[in-house]
């Protein structure tokens, strides 16, 4: 039972930021509405039906890569980590608490896009599929970002690393725009980008279409998950630093 209180302690500790800086949540919500408007404006129903599930998935990716990594990075700089290490709290409990405490950031795009999906008669399956892929996207984003952030000796501005990483993996590659617009050889190559592979999986599962082979996207995601998890675990130390 005590471990639940410990997780709740970390959750509430992180949630105070969300509670008092709620405008960040409003920003997330505005962004979700804007993306839906852009997608519908440019491509109508055909585009928005794939954009909504992919955007939910990619929000989870950004949440892991940006927010979780930034929170962990800030806790290291502020020496909050040291305070927590010198207690019964385990690294697992800490991470669960951080994710739960900052969850409202990911809940806002879901809360905005779900009624839009229902209004456009996209079906709740679309949202359900996106929610199913989202934890994988979040974990992969967090692993990748932490594998980088935890290697920096004196991380003074974590967001200067995580923000470009998120932009470079969400808006630059064919995640929100169709993979089919790329020339043939680049389509296969772009599957090596984890967010493109995740977007392909999400599209296939929610609307039943994808540009490249599904197996290839699943393989790419699995390799990224294993590789980034190993890269992160190698540098993740909960005390007893050599």
């Amino acid at each position: 039972m005590k471990f639940l209180w410990r997780i709740l302690g970390v959750t509430l500790f992180n949630f105070t930021f969300v509670k008092r800086q709620w405008m960040w949540i409003a920003q997330e919500a505005m962004f979700a509405i804007s993306i839906a408007m852009l997608a519908y404006g440019w491509g109508g129903y055909a585009v928005i039906r794939s954009t909504i599930p992919v955007y939910i998935m990619i929000s989870a990716w950004g949440f892991g890569a940006n927010l979780v990594a930034q929170t962990v990075g800030y806790d290291r700089i502020s020496r909050e980590w040291e305070r927590m290490i010198a207690s019964r709290l385990t690294v697992f409990e800490y991470f669960i608490g951080v994710v739960l405490g900052t969850t409202p950031f990911i809940l806002s795009p879901i809360a905005i896009l779900t009624p839009i999906a229902i209004a456009l008669d996209l079906g709740l399956k679309t949202i359900a599929i996106a929610l199913l892929v989202s934890p994988i996207a979040m974990a992969l984003g967090a692993f990748l970002s932490l594998a980088i952030v935890l290697r920096i000796k004196n991380p003074m501005n974590i967001s200067a690393i995580t923000n470009p990483l998120v932009i470079a993996t969400t808006f630059l590659p064919p995640v929100l725009y169709p993979l089919a617009i790329l020339p043939e050889p680049l389509r296969i190559a772009s599957i090596a980008i984890p967010t493109v592979a995740l977007a392909e999986i999400t599209r296939f599962m929610s609307i039943g279409t994808c540009t490249t082979s599904l197996e290839l996207s699943i393989a790419s995601t699995a390799i990224w998950l294993i590789a980034t998890a190993i890269a992160m675990i190698k540098v993740l130390r909960w005390g007893l630093e050599p």
Partner: protein, 294 residues
Amino acid sequence: MYAIEAVELGKRFGGFWAVKSVTFSIRERCIVVLAGPNGAGKTTTVRMLTTVFKPSKGFARVMGFDVVKEFKEVRKRIAYLPQDYGSPGDITPFEFIIYTLMMRGFSYFDARKEARKWIELLGLEKVAKNTLRVLSGGERRKTLVAATLASNADVVLLDEPTTGLDVEARYMVLKAIKDSTKILGSTVMLTTHMLEEGQLVADYVVFINSGEVVARGEPEELLVTVPYRYRVILEGISKKCLRNRYIDLGEKVITWTRNEEEARQLADVCRPSSFLVRDVTLEDVYLYIVGEKR
């Protein structure tokens, strides 16, 4: 059993030994002051005792448990406030103490009860519901100390807990530390430069310099290790008249004498414009051992 025991404890970063060899043992339910100049290795020593760093040599035990082999047992028994801890701004003192205690395994209800008690003990009632961002540095520091002491840990380690506090707040924090050993039975290790205050609460003092222990013992024991009994502050003199060790402060000079007679003779010889004599304190011991020498 000792509450804290360090034997030839050392920590190396690359080719640099931040702590060369530190040996001391602290009995339970006492307050130990770890003192030394900047870069002496105080914080690194504390970080090894709190299982943040793995020692490069030697070993340490906290409440009988090895800080490396039995680190989980150590962590169950300690609470730590790091130096330069960057407190979050969007949390109130009340919330900060509650959530800190919950992170340590307290239920919300017990944590709330404890938070109320410590808010009152440290005089934070008026600001308990303001966010830390708008509090003064001293109020923030008191909140952090309260959250650490409230943990009811066997061993509490506070790295520079009185930094940034005004005189009144410093004494309030020191009283809370003293109370925590008396009421809760905790052993408290604190690092500080404020040795005169440390002297008020310390049961044991460890002086550390260049990564090594240079003196240790109870304050009374340490006071007699220096050959002087009085500190003399002289103003407007020629330094040539000084025979003992002294610290040059420009207009003023601090020196020491063995007895009152020697202090009077010093005044006769040097003819200062102002002259102040007082008993030696731990600060003088510190200056004698690690300070500027003639």
